[in-house]
């Protein structure tokens, strides 16, 4: 994730509004770049499950429950659901909800430099 030296401008800053996304193709890789409002994040656009275009999935919130019948819903727009099988991935970490240690999608760091969104590959 870090330690790489390839920096690619993928969008103008105003091209990806908060809550928005852009899918870019670089060197044969498809990457989804998301604006979470406080920062940009980027994930490989390939679900580790069966290779679906993960970053085309719906954005939702984190749903937990302290006990049956009670729903805690927070972090709206930060949970990405795969369009094929609805598995959930945390946009900030690339980790899956159901198996965060073992099932995760590659994430990349993103910076904003001079009104440009820069992807660090």
């Amino acid at each position: 994730m870090t330690g790489s030296n390839r920096h690619v401008v993928v969008a103008a800053a105003d091209e990806i509004p908060p809550g928005g996304r852009k899918i870019v193709h670089i060197d044969g890789r498809s990457v989804g770049v998301f604006n979470l409002g406080d920062r940009y994040v980027a994930l490989r656009n390939t679900c580790p499950h069966e290779g679906a275009p993960l970053c085309e999935g719906a954005l939702s919130g984190a749903l937990t429950s302290p006990r049956p019948g009670e729903y805690h819903y927070e972090r709206r727009g930060e949970i990405l659901r795969c369009p094929w099988h609805q598995w959930e991935f945390d946009l900030r970490t690339g980790r899956s909800w159901v198996d965060p240690e073992r099932l995760r999608v590659r994430s990349y760091s993103v910076t904003c430099e001079n009104d440009h969104v820069v992807l660090h590959l």
Partner: protein, 364 residues
């Protein structure tokens, strides 16, 4: 019973004691219900799913005396406990008071049945342990009955596998809260306690269909209990699935886990894969087991890996019933000594809080 030596000193987790006749319960039933039974001409609540004349309903020799098989404590003791028999017998009385639609009558009959079990069975031999029979018609009354009877020989709550609604639903939770508080498991045994048949698709035409499909009801019930969050709300609760086979469980867990990955947002209180919840909270009796005709150690290894733990298995004889034709020792013969000890004693001692050592003294 020469083949019993392999299971000598076991805890037999499914022995069926029977009510000899309805009037045997009258000393334990309020007068109003005694007269109600007499005046309406009710003959009894012998379960329809064990027709007394059916060849599978009773093993040879269990029809001693006048009552139905399993109704004489001395006969059951001689067949199940004495000689090379079991160290303890967990009694699951299937007298079908849960079939009554009147919740007050059902609760009164259940109370009388439990008091009759205490006076007639638990007092007869300290190696007997009994299950508290409750009706699901009034879960609060069931909870009160669990509070009243748990302990002093009553080690389990017994529910019929088919209830008026899926057993995970919240209306039943008083039963689970009471069982958890009393530190006794809840057992589900094939039987009908509502309008629903054992089959998920409607009432079958034949007796054989109920038997061949017994696992389907249990699959639906355990799925309901996990999905509704019974074990999230009652982390101390254990559920025992009786007389419905064992080998079907891995396939349910595979599917349940797979679907949970996609649909867990519906049930966010299920925070772990359902298989993990099931392995922590569910035990199954090994009669019937439902294995291929001949099993070897390689098959058992594969199965135990799929199941997840040998600690989920409870030895059972199903006396006096004689349905299955499974050799009770087929699985046991393939287990290591440590695994066999768990299936025959250790798992039951854990879930039923039985004394570690065999008790020679009669009476508490």
């Amino acid at each position: 019973m020469g083949t019993m030596s392999a299971t000598a000193d076991a805890v037999d987790c499914d022995v069926h004691n029977a009510v000899p006749r309805l009037s045997a319960l009258f000393p334990f039933l309020p007068d109003s219900w005694v007269d109600y039974c007499r005046e309406t001409g009710v003959e009894g609540f012998d379960p329809a799913f064990y027709p007394p004349g059916a060849p599978l309903s009773a093993r040879p020799g269990s029809r001693a005396g006048e009552g139905p098989p399993g109704s004489d404590p001395d006969v059951v003791r001689a067949h199940v406990l004495d000689g090379a028999g079991a160290r303890y017998a967990i009694l699951n009385c299937l007298y079908a008071v849960q079939a009554l639609h009147n919740p007050d009558w059902a609760a009164s009959m259940a109370r009388a049945l439990n008091d009759w079990q205490a006076a007639t069975w638990l007092a007869a031999d300290t190696r007997f342990r009994a299950s508290i029979v409750v009706s699901t018609r009034d879960p609060h009354a069931a909870a009160q009955e669990i509070e009243r009877r748990a302990g002093r020989g009553f080690v389990q709550v017994l529910l019929p596998a088919s209830a008026p609604a899926p057993l995970g639903q919240r209306s039943y939770w008083p039963i689970y809260a009471a069982a958890e508080a009393a530190d006794v498991p809840v057992a589900l045994h094939p039987g009908v306690g509502g309008a629903n048949p054992l089959s998920p698709v409607g009432w079958p035409s034949h007796y054989i269909e109920d038997y061949a499909c017994a696992a389907l009801t249990l699959q639906s019930q355990i799925t309901s209990m996990v999905a509704e969050g019974v074990f999230a709300a009652h982390p101390g609760l254990q559920v025992v699935l009786l007389e419905s086979g064992v080998t079907w469980l891995p396939s349910l867990m595979w599917r349940f886990d797979k679907n949970w990955k996609a649909l867990r947002r519906e049930v966010p209180w299920v925070e772990r894969p359902p298989s993990h919840v099931i392995r922590e909270h569910v035990l199954l009796s090994t009669t019937p087991f439902d294995a291929p005709p001949a099993i070897d150690r390689a098959w058992v290894d594969r199965f135990l890996t799929q199941l997840g733990s040998v600690r989920m298995l409870l030895h059972a004889g199903d006396y006096p019933h004689w349905h299955h034709g499974d050799a009770p020792t087929a699985l046991l013969e393939q287990l290591s000594p440590a695994e066999r000890e768990l299936v025959l004693h250790g798992n039951a001692a854990r879930v039923y809080r039985l004394p570690e050592e065999i008790g020679c003294a009669r009476g508490h």
